[in-house]
């Protein structure tokens, strides 16, 4: 009854299927970039309307 390792995942782990973001490293960088944009937006929101 022990589960067996899933062999299918080994080959698909490198591809994202996203145009312009072919590696997961690029996807992670995009997430970090979005975070930076959000922080900048929040800082700007406070400064503009203070």
């Amino acid at each position: 009854m022990m589960p067996t390792p899933d062999q299918t995942d080994a080959t698909e782990s490198e591809t994202t299927g996203l145009p312009g973001l072919r590696t997961w490293r690029n996807v992670y960088l995009l997430v970090v970039a979005v975070f930076v944009v959000w922080v900048a937006f929040l800082v700007a929101l406070e400064r503009i309307f203070s």
Binding site: W24, V31, V39, L42
Partner: protein
Amino acid sequence: MNPLDYVVLLATLLGIAIYGIWRTRGRRDLKTYLKGDGNTKWIVIGLSVMATQASAITFLSLPGQGYKSGDEGGLSFVQNYFGAPFALIIIAAVFLPIYRRLNVYTAYEFLGRRFDSKTRLLGAALFLIQRGLGAGITIYAPAIVLSTVMGWRLDITIIFSGLIVIVYTVAGGSEAVNVTQKYQLAVIFAGMIAAFVVLVERLPTGLTLTDALTLAGGFKKLNGVDFSLSIHRRYTFWSGLLGGMFLALSYFGTDQSQVQRYISGASLRECRMGLMFNAICKIPMQFFILLLGVMIFVFYLFQQPPIYFNRAALEHAGNLQGIESNFAKAHAEEKQQLLAWLIAKRAGDQNAETAARTAALAAQQQTDAIRAKAEAAIVGKSRTTTNEADYVFITFILDYLPHGIIGLLVAAFFAAAMSSKAAELNALGSTTTVDFYRHVIAPAATDAHYVTASRGFTILWGLAAIGFALCANLAENLIQAVNILGSVFYGVVLGLFLVAFFLRRIGGTAVFWAALAAQLLVFVLYFSLNISYLWYNFIGPAACILFSVAIQTAIGPTARRDEGESQI
């Protein structure tokens, strides 16, 4: 609420539950019951992860947090989520491929593969204690607020929402949780967006969204980022980034109620995409809910709010006529100054604008002081276990939203409670079945037997949660007590996983005794030190890692496990 609201409420809740049962009817094999049909797409995973984390109290009390004054009010709470994107990246890059490759049902099964059986049981037991005790609060917290405001019986509210969840979670397992969460989240978003639109519509004529934001900024409500290094401030950029990352890492990476949501994907890509969806959407979502609270604050600048939002507690407090009369006068003065400010702003009269704004800020401080006085009088006379901020949004909904939308919003709160509850019950049932029943008691039974056992355990956990929620009002400060319990256990569980993933020379015996010692240390510190319980989320994993290294060094290198280790 009128009959239309009740129709919307019941049709929404029962409709989603019945759909979940129908969509997942006839699930008999263990893999499908615990992990779904293996075809789950990233958007379903993403929404499911989001729905599991966002409980009813998130949607009830977060707008109240945005409404609040002071350093901890306004948008400041959004910083709590700053660590989440980074934690989700670590989970997607490190944790997830290993969970998928080992094809585990539970996160603790991985500990068994990486270390040994005793470490697996320790991790699973710590999860069951913490999540099992916390399960009741997921039902109790929104029920106490909604029953207080609506005048419903608390016990009926708890039993009604608890039983619906048990029925569809037991019937359809993990897939039922996923398919219902998708629609529950749609109801939640529809309700929140409807509330925001109605709120902006109901702002005074001529007051634009820019004016509203300028007012909010003037009252320091748009304080979304604080780079202060002070450890005394609860929400700062740094505490959110570091503390939030640890919290998110332990919650998303090691809590079975979350792990079960994202390991069920059709492929590693779908699972990762689901997590990255949350990494991108988490901060905007929390920002939007807090902004809703900020807009409610602006709305109540022009419309006199109740002196205390928990009206049941206000009634228990007796005669506060003097305080209420002072409050009405101070609020009228503030409103007058704000209108003068708006007129001066439109006329381009800089001096008059500055003078009116200064006077409005002074008037706001006056109303805050009166409200604080009222709160002290009310809290002293009534026995309340909830925060007043929890009542801000629901009071606004009942007083100002049209019928039908009220029913939709109340359905949204219940949907949020049920989606979190379903994921918790599903995880508790799965862990009890896979890590204890199948692993220790009945290792050679059939899949159908395990599915039946899992259903039985899910029912037991569900009934225990309802029972706990029904008894919960006997305890003071219950929510805080459960949060403390979580922090006391969460850290050590995270420590076990961090050692498993990153310290490959540490063996099962070293980490097992290290985790027990770390847990003991956390207990001792908890009872002897007077520090915020949030620190235990750092102390637990740090102690577990240090003790593991020390014990492994003392006992010498351990032979690597032949099973599992090589696959990791």
